[in-house]
Symmetry: C2
Amino acid sequence: MLNDLKNPGPRDCGDCPIRHRAVCARCEADELEQLDQIKYYRSFEAGRTVIWAGDQMDFVGSVVTGIATLTQTMEDGRTQMVGLLLPSDFVGRPGRETAAYDVVAVSDMVMCCFRKGPFEDMIAKTPHIAQRLLEMTLDELDAAREWMLLLGRKTAREKIASFLSILARRNATLNLGQAGGAMSFELPLTREAMADYLGLTLETVSRQISALKKDGVIELQGKRLVNVPDFDRLLDEAGDDSDGGMLS
Amino acid sequence: MLNDLKNPGPRDCGDCPIRHRAVCARCEADELEQLDQIKYYRSFEAGRTVIWAGDQMDFVGSVVTGIATLTQTMEDGRTQMVGLLLPSDFVGRPGRETAAYDVVAVSDMVMCCFRKGPFEDMIAKTPHIAQRLLEMTLDELDAAREWMLLLGRKTAREKIASFLSILARRNATLNLGQAGGAMSFELPLTREAMADYLGLTLETVSRQISALKKDGVIELQGKRLVNVPDFDRLLDEAGDDSDGGMLS
DNA sequence: CCTCGAGCTTGATCGAGATCAAAGTTAAAA
DNA sequence: TTTTAACTTTGATCTCGATCAAGCTCGAGG
C-alpha cells in the first residue's frame, strides 16, 4: 500500500476507476492518447497539503482515489471549507496562475495531474474536454449554491442531517443496491473538518450528532461509522424538499 | 421608457452594451449571425418573476440591462439568495430541463434570450461559446465560494461591509475614474432582499447599516444612496484580505 | 504494560443575531 | 391634499450556537 503511495507509477486510462466520470469522460481514443502524454500521477498522504492558496499552480488534475478538501481562510484564522473533492472531481482552474484555495488531502490520495499549459491548449483544441469541464463546473456551481442555502439558513441540526444525507446518498450510488430505508457509511472527516464545512464549531457538531443518535435518526459504531435506519427520516431532519432531488 | 419595456424590439449585436462581456463575447461575425437567428428580447418590470423554480425552461439568456436575483426557498418559506444577476450575466443551464431557482427581476430588466435547444446545438458546434460559458461559470463558482465564506464565517457587520464593498467596487469599474478613497453608489436591493442574500434578518441588516453609518464608515442620502468616504476602511470592516483581490 | 496526545464528548455560561412589537418614512394612489 | 401600503428603523427580549472548560476514548509509541 505504501509502495503504491510513494510511486503510483503510470496507469492505463483503460483501467482507470474514474475514466467515465472525470474530465476525460467524453474523450475518444486519440484524445486520451494526447492526454496521456501530459499526464502524471501524484500521491499524497492523509493530512498533506496539495496546494497552498496563493501558490503558483503549474498543474491541474483529477482526484483518482481518496478525498481532499478545498478551504478558504481569513486573516484571523477563521476557516470555511468550500468543497469536498471526491474521486473524479477536478482540481485547479484553467486560465488562472495561482491557487485560490488550500487543497488538503484528507485521506491518502492519488491525483492524475496535467501540466497546466498543455492542458489549456487541449481545452482550446478538444471540445470534448471543454464540454465535459463545463458540465462538471455547472454541477459544482449547483452544489455550491445548495451549500449557500445550508450555510445561510439551516439550523445546526439540519446542517448535520444534510451533510449525512449527502454522504449516505453518495455511498448508495456507489455501492448500489442497499435498497430500502437502511444504509451505512463512514464519516471521512473529523468533527473539526465537518465544522469547517458546515459553518459551525466542532462542539456543536459533536452535540448535534449525539442528539441525532439519541433521537434514533442515526446509529454510531465507533466515532466514524454511521448507520441510518430510515433514510427518509434523515432527509426530513435535513429540511430539504421531501424527494431530495432523486427523481425530479 | 415604458414603451421600450413593453417591446424592446430587435437590436443589433453591434450596439449591444454587453457585447464584449456576455456569453457571446468571443464570437466572430458569422457566429453572431447564427446567434442572432435564435435570439429574442424579453422585458420584465421590477418585481416580476422571470422563472419559477421547477418550471420548464425553454430558454437561456443574458441580462442586458437591469438586475435580477437567483433565489432558493425551503418548504417552510426560509429563503436564501444564491446569486445577483447583473448585465452580461447568464441565466439558465444548458442541458437541464427545469429551472433550479427562482429568478426575479429586481429592477426593470431586459434579457437577450436564446431558445434552449438551438443554443445547446450551438454550444456543441461553436467552441467560442462553450469556452466563454466555461470561463463565466468558473467565475460564478469562485463568487459562490467567496459567498460561502461570508455565509459560514462572517459576522453580521462584516457581511454588510462585504456586500457594500462588492457594490462599490463594481460601480468603480463601471464608472471608472472616481479614484482615491471616496465613492458612492445606489443599493439595488431592499433591506429584506439584502437579508436574503446575506443570511440575516432584515432587522439585523437595518441595524448594521445604521451602525456603520454611526461609525462613519458609510454615509446615507435617503435609504438607498450610499457614500463611502474611505474605501479601505470599508474593506477593513469586511474582514477580507487587505488588498481585496484587486491586484493579486 | 503505561504514557501521551489527537480527537471527541459534555457541561456551564455568554452573546450575536433572531424574534416580537411599535413607530417612523416615503412615495404612489385616490 | 389625504390615504395607504410598502419599506425602514428602533426597542425589548429570547434563543441557538459560540465560547470556555473539563474529562473521556483509544490507538500509537515508548
